[in-house]
């Protein structure tokens, strides 16, 4: 039986381990441990894995609040960690693009960001996450007071940009990005529904 006490004691550790798992799996693949391999195009594999987990973590972060309406507030303690993991995966996604994919070719990177809408959108998404990660500490939260909450509503924009980035990147089959669009529509829709219900 998972009691609130157990969640309090071991919850964060469990969530931390779960959030690290995709990254660990990727690292094992990079070092070709056992049968694990990145395949013929390793850089693309890393890029896609980090990107999709970034989006999944964002969705998980946004799913917590509606969940607490049902389960009570104890789950909210995981929200900051999930958000920081989302930022970590998205940041590593960008670093892989910067370092391994483009090998610091800044001319090409700037051209990509300016000329290619799906990269522009992805980059904007990362920019909107950065202040949220920075101000995630208790110290910043106290300093910003009620503005902290306003600032962190930026995450709604982040998740829309992230999903849009995925949607535009796909060549033809839109099934997977559309599933994420639907998930995000539900997560944001629930919030709107709640606002109207309380009025």
């Amino acid at each position: 039986m998972i009691t609130p006490l157990i969640i309090k004691r071991f919850g964060k550790l469990a969530v931390f381990i779960a959030c690290c798992a995709p990254l660990l799996w990727l690292i094992l693949k990079i070092f070709a441990v056992g049968p694990l391999q990145l395949g013929p195009n390793p850089i693309e594999n890393i890029q896609d894995t980090l990107g999709i987990w970034g989006l999944r973590m964002l969705c998980a972060t946004l799913a917590l609040t509606p969940l607490t309406w049902v389960t009570g507030p104890s789950l909210i303690r995981f929200r900051r960690m999930l958000g920081l993991f989302a930022f970590t995966y998205c940041g590593l996604h960008f670093l892989n693009y910067l370092i391994l994919d483009q090998t610091f070719d800044f001319a090409a990177i700037i051209e990509d960001i300016l000329k290619r809408p799906f990269i522009t959108i992805g980059f904007l998404g990362l920019l909107t996450m950065t202040p949220l990660a920075i101000t995630s500490t208790n110290n910043w939260r106290r300093k910003l007071g009620r503005h902290w909450k306003h600032l962190h509503r930026l995450v709604y924009l982040t998740v829309i940009l992230a999903c849009w980035h995925f949607y535009w990147q796909v060549k033809k089959d839109l099934m997977e990005p559309l599933i994420y669009c639907l998930i995000i529509a539900v997560l944001l829709g629930l919030r709107i529904w709640r606002i109207y219900r309380h009025k």
Binding site: G39, P40, N41, I43, Q102, A108, W168, K172
Partner: protein, 307 residues
């Protein structure tokens, strides 16, 4: 008609892959030594672990595990995993349209009269990755000429087999199957244009377009249609799957061109498959490096508009 049988012992059974990859060194060194094969380094089997002594050519594994063949699925690994039920024997090809000889022909009758050659070609995908593949096949022109195309034959259209029961990707209908492609008659008759039947000396695996596919090395890979069941000589430009589905992103010509970007990504550089984690992308060459041979096909054509 002379029916040429495939050799009973295939070259891959005689020559291990790394020796095959080393064959230039082998030929070079034996020419230098001028004498005994016993001292040829490629033959000694001493350096089994060399991944590719000829770094240009991709490994058999890379070529057969990283495929775009939407008939079997959308992920690059899907075709290798999901083409097991694909049966290519017997196989027949319908030849129709503007030609004197038309009809349905067995695979053996199409290929039989010709000697299979090996061609090592660069292969550039529109998604900005590339490989170097040792194909086996025959010049398409040699085959087409036997059917005596008439003066009305301005284009050649190709069609991939439609077998949803064996090709799970066709059941999802991501593209307008059966997959179709086309070339101008001049492109189809160009000596570089290959009708491939194998790679690395083995029959084409299902995921690479068994048993018969097109290879047009100066064009993006999607032009090189796989598992062909129909070749039609037409007077007008035929339907081509990608360029008709998304005309803003894929053109009929689809010549490799580093100066004309895809709307969503740059075509100036390419990722060489098999080059590892720390390799830089390499510059893409005009006509994929085959400009000397094929640029004259396009004199007067605005390649920015006719991409």
């Amino acid at each position: 008609m002379l029916i040429r049988q495939k050799p009973v012992i295939r070259s891959f059974q005689i020559t291990p892959e790394h020796n095959y990859l080393n064959r230039r060194d082998f030929i070079g060194s034996t020419a230098l030594a001028g004498t005994s094969l016993l001292f040829a380094p490629g033959c000694a089997g001493a350096d089994d672990k060399t991944p590719a002594a000829n770094p240009e050519v991709n490994s058999f594994e890379d070529i057969t595990r990283y495929n775009n063949f939407y008939e079997f699925g959308l992920d690059k690994e899907d075709p290798a995993k999901l083409s097991g039920a694909f049966n290519t024997s017997p196989w027949s090809v319908t030849i129709d349209g503007e030609a004197e000889i038309t009809g349905k022909f067995n695979f053996e009758d199409i290929i039989g009269p010709h000697a299979i050659e090996e061609r090592i070609y660069r292969f550039r995908c529109v998604e900005a990755w590339s490989m170097v593949v040792p194909w086996n096949g025959i010049s398409l022109s040699n085959v087409l000429q036997r059917f005596k195309p008439t003066s009305k034959a301005k284009f050649v259209a190709f069609e991939t087999v439609y077998r949803p029961a064996e090709m799970p990707g066709q059941r999802r209908g991501v593209l307008d199957f059966p997959y179709r492609e086309g070339l101008t008659i001049a492109e189809a008759m160009h000596p570089l244009t290959l009708l491939a039947t194998g790679l690395y000396g083995v029959d084409l695996p299902g995921q690479n377009g068994a048993p018969l596919r097109l290879i047009v090395p100066w064009k993006y890979g999607f032009k090189s249609i796989k598992s062909i069941v129909r070749i039609s000589f037409t007077e007008t430009r035929p339907y081509t799957t990608w360029s008709d589905a998304m005309p803003a992103e894929y053109g009929f010509y689809a010549n490799v061109n580093p100066e004309v970007d895809h709307p969503r990504w740059s075509q100036a550089r390419e990722r060489r498959i098999g080059s590892g984690l720390f390799a830089k992308k390499q510059p893409t060459l005009m006509f994929n490096g085959y400009g000397d041979e094929v640029a004259s096909l396009y004199t007067g054509l605005d390649l920015t508009r006719h991409f």
